[in-house]
């Protein structure tokens, strides 16, 4: 038996079905919204603003995303268990200043100072996590109170001093590139890969997510949820330490204002990238796309010469628009049971 000529109606139907299937797969993709927003904004900037695609601008964006990405991951770790870390900014300032002090005043070799700085970050996270699980006080309040305590302790001990005589080899790290890609961005992506593996491939990562998704169910299934919460805060502190060290290298100095603007991007980047504030689901790649979107929106507003008086308003509107697009996508998926 030989196949007869295909009915043109069947072919059109098959093509329609294929397009629908691809569309459904796309809208179900967690990163669809942030990718569309990025593609749209990049498209507009590429066409209308030649400076956007200059190597200098892309390199500058790379530096921005490098630090913002790690800051956002520090928040992602606690979001995974359904908690917040509002002390992130104070931790960053304290770790950065401590690392600067160890290099400049104590004369420690910079790799050792970096390691100790990050370890101190883990310690501050451990303290925060331990207070939360031991006292049962809401993490929002605990981290807010600790932020004030950390910042006050840092100012009290340092007297507001800055450290700007850091080892040249350390400062050079902040400006170094590998094949034109900023070294800090490479480090940031390596950290992101490690966090991806943690949440995706390790038992510990799964247990963190299970704790965030449903703490009671996680406890009933034998997960030490309190230990998971402390672990999440330790990871958050450690990542805040990495981000602080990266920022100190980038700025070439350590000062009390370090990390003062971390809080908004630490939440906005993960949320734009599909991480749930309620815990149980994190998207590391989405977090980086969220960080990229934030950086490109800020970059684009300056490139378009938006007045400094209106910048914040437009930034807020664009962020809300990006979040609304994602909300619309999720509703569409639910409504159509895709």
């Amino acid at each position: 038996m030989t196949a007869g000529p295909q009915n043109p109606g069947d072919t059109a139907e098959r093509q329609g079905s294929l397009s629908r299937s691809l569309w459904h797969r796309f809208v179900r993709w967690d990163l669809a919204s942030v990718s569309i927003a990025l593609a749209l904004i990049c498209g507009v900037l590429l066409v209308l603003v030649p400076a956007f695609r200059s190597a200098y601008n892309l390199r500058a964006l790379g530096f921005t995303i490098a630090v913002t990405g790690v800051v956002a991951l520090a928040q992602v770790c606690v979001l995974s268990v359904g908690q917040f870390n509002l002390a992130l900014t104070a931790m960053g300032a304290m770790i950065g200043l401590l690392t600067g002090w160890m290099m400049q005043d104590l004369g420690l070799a910079y790799p050792l100072a970096i390691a100790l700085g990050i370890a101190f970050g883990c310690l501050t996270g451990a303290v925060q996590g331990a207070i939360i699980v031991r006292t049962g006080i809401n993490p929002f309040i605990v981290s807010l109170a600790l932020a004030a305590a950390y910042f006050g302790a840092m100012l009290g001990l340092s007297r507001g001093a800055s450290y700007n005589q850091l080892p040249p080899a350390f400062v050079a790290l902040g400006r170094a590139s590998i094949l034109g890609v900023p070294l800090l961005l490479v480090i940031s992506l390596v950290v992101a890969a490690a966090v991806t593996i943690l949440f995706q491939r390790s038992v510990g990562g799964r247990q963190l997510l299970a704790t965030g998704a449903n703490p009671r169910a996680a406890l009933m299934s034998g997960i030490a949820t309190n230990r998971m919460i402390v672990t999440a805060h330790i990871l958050s502190g450690g990542l805040a330490g990495i981000a602080a060290v990266m920022l100190v290298a980038r700025l070439g100095s350590a000062q009390p204002s370090l990390g003062s603007e971390w809080l908004l991007p630490s939440f906005a980047a993960p949320v734009l990238g599909g991480t749930l504030l309620t815990g149980g689901r994190v998207l590391v790649a989405g977090t980086y796309l969220g960080a990229l979107l934030l950086a490109i929106i800020a970059n684009g507003l300056v490139l378009f010469g938006v007045s400094a008086y209106w910048y914040q308003t437009l930034l807020g509107i664009l962020l809300l628009a990006a979040l609304a697009v994602d909300r619309g996508r999720q509703s569409y998926v639910l409504r159509n049971q895709l």
Partner: protein, 337 residues
């Protein structure tokens, strides 16, 4: 979350960043950016100063002016990077961090882009060519001297000033103390620091001090911009005209207080002149002139405003700039080649 999605996301990130093969951006001859440290009324007169210098010295296009939203060196650096990408070839800005901003200034210098500082200065050593700023010690000294003269050389003075971590705060305290030494009948009751933390902090600080020293205070000087407005408003609410009061800057609240008798005077700084002279200097440097001045700090002048010169204060302040600009090129630049 799986590896396919991660790779797809990474590819999107890479494609957005991977446009580095584009053509370099062409640079115009005069593409200057002047920038404040944050959105603040202090910088309000700067665009006029830029426009006036552009007109006076034929600088086209008119240099741009912008400000970061907050005192954030990372945001300020990102704005600078964006303007470098746009081909700007001269910068004058107030560093958001006197220490950390030096790294960015060095990066600009490495790109052969001249950088000046205006409004506030980076710590030295710095690659910034020079800093057009107010001598804060002199401002406090002169303001305090005017106040003490208005008090008839006797009585108690309270000094409201900025943040303890700001070097200008120490300068201001020293300036007020230096003036007090010249008046044996004057006693400084208190230097109240931390007034620039915000309106709430200033309001609380002012209320506490006024309550604590009620009846003892003969004069008040403010070297904090925020406290200046708070005190002027407090005096207006209380219909207080008995205490002599000298404020900072020439913003509407203090000028109205002077007009209505609630303040004796105010020390106006010269942001207009800082922007004017920075724009002119960037043009000279771009034209090939070399800075030959010995000083890093260049005082851009002050004006003491009272009821007597209130009406023509803008004109008087403009004259301060005109006087400075008169021999600016000859005095500070070598333009032989």
């Amino acid at each position: 979350m799986n590896w396919t999605k991660t790779i797809l996301a990474a590819a999107t990130t890479a494609s957005a960043l991977g446009m580095a093969l584009a053509q370099p951006v062409a640079a115009a001859e005069y593409k200057f950016l002047l920038m404040g440290a944050l959105v603040h009324p202090y910088y309000g007169p700067m665009p006029s100063g830029i426009a006036a210098a552009a007109k006076e010295y034929g600088i086209s296009p008119v240099p741009e002016f912008t400000m970061p939203q907050k005192f954030d060196v990372v945001e300020q650096n990102a704005i600078i990077d964006t303007y470098v990408a746009k081909g700007f070839n001269g910068f004058a800005f107030q560093p958001d961090d006197p220490v950390a901003s030096n790294q960015k200034i060095q990066e600009l210098k490495d790109l052969n882009i001249p950088v000046l500082s205006i409004g506030g200065c980076p710590v030295q050593p710095t690659p910034s060519l020079f800093c057009l700023t107010t001598d804060t010690k002199d401002l406090a000294y002169q303001g305090a001297k005017h106040l003490m003269e208005a008090m008839g050389g006797k009585g108690n003075v309270v000094h409201f000033t900025g943040q303890p971590e700001d070097t200008n705060t120490k300068n201001s305290i020293d300036g007020v103390a230096a003036a007090a030494k010249e008046f044996p009948g004057i006693k400084i009751l208190q230097d109240v620091v931390g007034m620039d933390a915000g309106m709430d902090a200033a309001q609380t600080g002012v209320s506490n001090v006024l309550a604590a020293h009620k009846g003892d205070i003969g004069g008040i000087i403010s070297t904090s911009g925020i406290a200046t407005d708070v005190i002027a408003n407090e005096f207006r609410k209380a219909n207080q005209t008995g205490i002599k009061y000298v404020g900072l800057n020439n913003f509407p609240v203090i000028l109205d207080a002077i007009k209505d008798g609630f303040a004796t005077g105010t020390m106006a700084q010269n942001p207009y002149g800082q922007a004017f002279l920075a724009t002119y200097s960037l043009k000279l440097i771009t034209d090939g002139c070399k800075y030959k001045g010995k000083d890093f700090y260049i005082n851009t002048g002050l004006l003491y405003i009272t009821k007597d010169n209130l009406a023509k204060q803008a004109e008087d302040l403009s004259k301060v700039t005109t006087d400075l600009a008169k021999d600016w090129k000859e005095k500070l630049f070598d333009c032989k080649s």
